[in-house]
């Protein structure tokens, strides 16, 4: 590849097509964009949080083809042709998902920074295991750190969210 062609390519963005919260979305992304950057900075879906940026805390958890992933470690172009679900897609605008209601009712939200990620991990669990045990809940959220609650109320909320 000649140098001038290389510099042309540097300028090039790539088209990312994905199903985001149930709707097909096309967006021009930098090749080096991470999924969380595209969600927050280009698509204004700021429900997904960034905290550690290293896959340690789970604040940026979204579902990729139904599975929880750290969107701070996922190149956006890995979502090409796939389904992405963020906290904004849990319930129709103005409504709450049963899990969100349970979080409110059980006082599972304190500072709130871990909450979107917690909800997404919990949603992935309940989608394939509607009646989990406490151990299964704790395993499912083991990649999501909360520094406020001590987890007890989050676990309670998920166990109750599972029964609606």
């Amino acid at each position: 590849m000649k140098d001038e062609e290389w510099s042309m390519e540097k300028m090039t963005t790539q088209t990312l097509t994905m199903t985001l919260n149930g709707e097909e979305v096309k967006v021009q992304v930098e090749p080096s964009a991470l999924l969380v950057e595209v969600l927050r900075d280009q698509l204004d879906l700021t429900g997904t949080k960034v905290a550690c940026g290293e896959g340690e805390c789970g604040a940026c958890t979204v579902l990729l083809d139904g599975k929880p992933v750290n969107s701070c470690l996922v190149p956006a172009l890995k979502a090409q042709g796939r389904e992405v679900l963020t906290v904004e897609g849990l319930a129709p605008p103005g409504e709450l998902h049963p899990l969100q209601k349970a979080f409110v009712e059980h006082g599972a939200v304190q500072c709130g920074y871990c909450t979107p990620g917690m909800l997404m991990s919990a949603k992935a669990l309940l989608d394939h295991n509607p009646s989990p045990t406490e151990d299964e809940v704790r395993l499912a959220i083991s990649g999501n750190l909360c520094r406020c609650t001590g987890y007890a109320k989050i676990v309670e909320a998920i166990l109750n969210g599972s029964t609606g």
């Binding site: 590849m1 390519e9 540097k10 790539q14 930098e30 090749p31 080096s32 991470l34 940026g53 290293e54 896959g55 340690e56 789970g58 958890t61 990729l64 599975k67 929880p68 992933v69 750290n70 470690l73 996922v74 190149p75 172009l77 890995k78 090409q80 991990s121 992935a124 395993l139 499912a140 083991s142 990649g143 750190l145």
Partner: protein
Amino acid sequence: MKWEEYLVPTSLEEALAMLKEHRGQARVIAGGTDLIIQLKKKEATARCLVDVTHLDELKGIELEDGFIRIGACVTHQELASSQLIWERAAALAEGASQVGSPQIRNMGTVGGNIVNAQPAADTVVPLMALEAEVEVATATGTHREPLGGICIGPGQCTVDSTAEILTAVRFRALDPNQGSAFERLAKRKALSLPILNAAAVVTLNNGGDTFQEARLAVGPIGPTPARAFSAEEALRGAAVGAQAIAAALEIAAQEAQPRSNPLRGSQEYRQEMVKVLLRRSIKRAVQVARGS
């Protein structure tokens, strides 16, 4: 850390051609759970990333002629939920199920864990005890080599991810008179690097009362995941029992060279724990081999 191109080849040949075209400036990415962090921290550089997760050759867990072949892009979660791996190589399923967190296990791959070459990689330690070999595709063809030969230092793997692609890992499926187990010591149950981990694969004679063979692996007690060969030798032909195991574990602990580390504990503590983790793995592996 900004890479300028993100390529998604649809065949192995195309992927190798892309790497060749970029002459060392492109790098293979699989799950990205280690590489993206390294790129962010500028511990690795790449002008182009070549995403190999769509290549058929790098997918799937298959049993062929008594060997299990695992595509390099099989995720830790896929390993941890594979009935075949639990039945014929349980140590690997146990190791994979303890990597990082659910989020990391959904993205991270066994091939990435190998190429990332950490001395206590949770899938590599059991794969060492399973005597795995890897398949590597290069510009001149695909070859196999022992897993133990490609890990040469912390973070150093002989597979050059700017030119070559690790396509699969392969080992003999365990027979009914064999058993395996993996043990891990860490400060927390998730998102915590191991202070120490260990895997055992044992082969018992038909009565189940003698070690025909034992293969033991431990990390991190040196620059690479390590086999405890002298301890294995001590168990060969020995009666299955506390005495033989204790003697072998003394040898393993003496040979282990863990360093004192503020994160992972003192040398003395970890040397003692080599015995504890190996004893637990051997005991469970024996139970599996005896069918109990």
